[in-house]
């Protein structure tokens, strides 16, 4: 595509999310008619050897062990950060200072105050940002939002949102950065997905009453001893939305047997929706407009009627996968860079999620309802 301008990408981090982003960069241009041609320019990892190996595996032209030099490389247009959370802020601010567009995995930063600094810097610099809340990229969530906005459910009254998994259910699973009081815990780690989905569908959450519980009080420290755990294994909240609806949210990483219980139910005056990420190519819809005796939750399967599903599969029933969600995420970001659409989930949005997380945590600690000071 010689007629398209090029966007050169510098990636920091080569773990699972780094690879998932590369899948996205590779497939997005094949699936969508993007305004730019994407070029995998440089990948940064901790050592030169690791970086060189990653460059070969992932298809980057260059490798470096010095992310700072990469950030300042004038050939590079986009900095993609998939490094550990604690480094997001420093890296993003450096990239913003260098005038790069920044794509950052979630959570944007361990603390809302950091996230705010990042969002404000990005806005001041006028660059384009993106936070990787990939579940929002599902065509069935787009459908759900569209149905809600179009009034197909009537006035929205109630919401139940969850994100539960079991990857921390084993008490012998060792202490990691995810257990660090600065930004760790189930609510921050995956409850944040439940919050992002809730706001994506119903708009801003305005008030919360939190409940954060540590069920596994210590974990192996990896050196034969034990490390006390202070963060929540379960973080939940009662919530109020600006649109008048009320509901509840839960993040839970000790839900034995659950692998991806990112579920929601929306109840309106005329209908309802039910969804689980475990079967994310489906949306279940109940409508009071159906004839009496013929009502029921109907299982809508993802199809070309639900853009951009048709970009991936020309017929219903084929189904998209997790990496396709990443491709959709990448495409939205690239189009936003070109000014063709608003940023789908920018740093400001990442800040908003982080702010709710911290408000719920503070509410749980103070045992009182709190306003979310967006």
């Amino acid at each position: 595509m010689p007629d398209k301008p090029v966007l050169r990408i510098g990636l920091i981090g080569t773990g699972f999310m780094g690879k998932a982003h590369v899948f996205g960069f590779a497939s997005a241009p094949k699936v969508f008619d993007l305004p730019y041609r994407l070029e995998l320019h440089t990948v940064a990892d901790i050592t030169p050897e690791a970086a060189t190996r990653a460059a070969q595996e992932l298809g980057f032209a260059h490798a470096t062990a010095d992310w700072r030099s990469m950030v300042e490389n004038p050939e590079i247009d986009v900095i993609d950060i998939t490094a550990p959370n604690a480094l997001h802020k420093e890296m993003a601010l450096a990239a913003i200072a260098a005038g790069k567009h920044v794509y950052c995995e979630k959570p944007l930063a361990p603390l809302a105050s950091d996230a705010r600094e990042m969002a404000e810097a990005a806005e001041a610099a006028g660059i384009t940002t993106q936070v990787g809340f990939n579940y929002l990229c599902n065509p069935m969530l787009a459908l759900a939002r569209q149905m809600i906005e179009a009034g197909e459910l009537g006035e929205i009254r109630g919401y139940r949102g969850l994100h539960a998994e079991d990857y921390m259910a084993d008490a012998e699973s060792p202490w990691t950065f995810r257990h660090d009081p600065a930004g760790g815990g189930a609510l921050a780690d995956i409850g944040s997905h439940a919050l992002a989905t809730a706001e994506f569908l119903l708009g801003p959450i305005t008030e919360v009453m939190g409940d954060c519980v540590t069920m596994i009080g210590q974990r192996p420290d990896g050196k034969g001893g034990a490390h006390a755990v202070e963060v929540d294994d379960v973080g939940r909240a009662f919530v109020r939305f600006a649109n008048g609806a009320q509901g509840s949210i839960e993040g839970n990483w000790i839900a034995t047997g659950r692998k991806m219980q990112h579920d929601f139910e929306v109840y309106g005056t005329k209908g309802a929706l039910a969804f689980t990420q475990e079967r994310f190519n489906e949306l279940h819809f109940y409508s009071t407009a159906d004839a009496p005796g013929r009502r029921g939750f109907r299982r809508i399967e993802a199809s070309p009627d639900h853009p951009p599903y048709g970009r991936f599969c020309v017929a219903p029933g084929h189904q998209i996968g997790f990496n396709d969600l990443k491709a959709i995420e990448v495409a939205g970001f690239i189009r936003a860079i070109a000014g063709r659409q608003p940023e789908p989930c920018n740093f400001r949005k990442g800040l908003a999620i982080q702010t709710i997380v911290e408000t719920i945590q503070a509410s749980a600690k103070k045992q009182k309802w709190m306003n979310v000071g967006h």
Copy 2:
């Protein structure tokens, strides 16, 4: 069965629940080998005509419009109360005073203070009591409790319980006694079922943080005007159990599309259970003891392995229905009267549920965590 002593029953109320009880009285002796022969002695309704018609339809030998005379009739052994909630206390106390065993529909009374008076009177009189929390009579709930007690799930950490329906979702549905601040609201009406199931499975709830929301602020008063509604349409709580587990509960009568979302999920260190009353002949069980790569929630179908299912159907897959739950409820009561087993769900238990309901309501009002003063 001439060799069995007779238990003579007097029924007050002939609505849906009255009929369901009569189904129970009719089928329980056919299904179980009960220690008594049951005799439908007298039915009481508001007018003599209504009572006579009900006697004919339901198979009672006598009819009366004066429940008090029935309660005092020395021929009658059991008083069964299915009258409106507000009358439960007066009727039950009279029956207890007359030395009758008392079977009372849930909720035991609009207020916990009334329920306490009833429970204490019953205990002082030494008679046998029963409150109709029918969902507890499901063989799959017995299985769930047995699995939990046997340690098949390991140590229990988390619980999610719901009872959501949509029978009050229509804002044009008129004001009724269920909307009376004394004992009304979604939490008291159906959230109480979710609480009863939670305690049945995990034992006592000790602390709660409540959230009670009125979404439909007024309803037609049936006379062309509007009646303000003060009770909750949604009542939910964070909860703590005496066994160390934590979780959440929700009662909701405006959940559009939901007909019987009496669901629970239990998460332990070694396994998990998931259940919905919408498919109440099934229990879903996840075990970490299964081999890696072979784990998953397994759908256990009710079978003769799960007593007393086999009393109703000799083979799996046939399924019991709601009225069969009532038969199991009746059988438990009759055996308790004979001293063959503890009371399955007596007035003391009914009081406990009502106490949690009121503690949640008070907690919601005060916006703070409260101990459940059982």
Copy 3:
């Protein structure tokens, strides 16, 4: 109900089905406003002791070890046959000769020729008959038929019907009368249910191509030896319906893990239905009349909109059970005796099912398509 005429019942057989019928006799009058009062007059079993014990347990006034005398007792109006299949014909013909109405468990007789003799005798005598195809009594099947007849699915093109269980999957399960070449096998035993449902929904099956397979060639004979098995463990057929539709049917009693896979799918030009007896309070409906992007199989839950469900439960979601199906079956028979409705599933219908079974078996043996000579 002194104003209603009495119908006195004589029951032969006191096994599972005998008890299920008694449940039906007990609950049907409580659920429905029947034209007769039912009286459990006499029960016949093999020995006087067994009969007396059954009378006590089941509530019959009299007991006998001589079914012939019972059949001829002028006080009795209805003979209910739940004895082994091989005895159905002799008993039914005697009852018909004595002018009794006859209620007979399925299959009507081991051979279609016997069933024909029974049906013709019943018609000549003008008495009312019933064969116990209980699954047809499900309100959701009534709904399905009504939807098909009303054209909600358009023109019907295709059908898939199953009845699979696993009660003969164990090769060590001994030889019984169900393995007798005269009337035995999976197709006759449970495939007949699949055929009954197919004809209930779509009308007559006109042509079949059968496939009957014996997978377990011998079974223990109970005396330490082995008994050769000649009947089918799996019996299936391609079918054609008089209405122009085509499809397939399967009966299977070695389907490991299946407890009640009595399933059907109906495909029409405008919609489709899917059903499984494993969740028989649900019917799944797809309609091309739904808006594009909003189509999907909707899960209709049994409710008072689906008579006679509301006779058992006044609200949706409560669910009926297997024994309730028997109550509906009884009620239909009683009303047919009173001339208030056509016989729901009479001997002629039982003959029709048996005829298809034998045609499929003959077709499988001859390896060619055959007309069903109704």
Copy 4:
């Protein structure tokens, strides 16, 4: 990856399947450590303009309107054929003659005789071939086969396989090449998938009894007239497997509401499997080794325990999509070219499937059982 040899690809056809193949070529090397570097060399389409546009969109270096010249280009190693079925043979034979490895979409050819010629030519030339039965590439099918081979289900007795969709349910959908008697019809088009899955899991099908039905006798010819349809809308068969199992297969393209009912159930002496492509990241497993009262179909979710799922997602619950199946398919082919593994689904296998399709069609026409002359 300069250290890897290069494999240069020439693609014929740029429709849905062409694009899906390109997705596979793009993502396979990122997901797997392949023995070759893949280079998208040339794409061939009908006109130079279309080819040039496709080259740009899909990332090929060269474009041509002359597939023959491409096939003979010595720089190209692999010819990938996604052109209409009728052209497969000519193209494949030319590619084989030129010594290329050949990747061909299913069905291999409209007629088994053509397929045989292709398979024999390929084997004589010693090149590597692949037919695109993508559903076989699902990690859950690999799991199913592994479980069957390891004896986890015991001896296999029964099988039910389906592939039903509704893309031809509308009688106004016009006549296309898929309706051509040479190679068309539901059985050939999608029933072939059901056959491929059956043989993948249980091994060779040896005997069939077919039933092929045309329900829509004519379709619009696109010129205002009607074109008679002779091919089957539903093609089904009774089948026997070499391993002693028996079962049934159905292909159906008029199953209203079904989008991807590619389902199977496998019944063994010790367990069973159930699967639907509608939820293809799940496999349901019943084991008689589970304790009594704890048995049930368990829902195994795709996870890194099920290779190569972990190549795409490092954690369970994330799920792969249709295009990922294509990447797995590509990877298997590439490794087979390098001699690192047997061909997963070569021309010989494609011939086998086509042979069964034709045997079923012939059997349906002759109305008799036929051996599959592999």
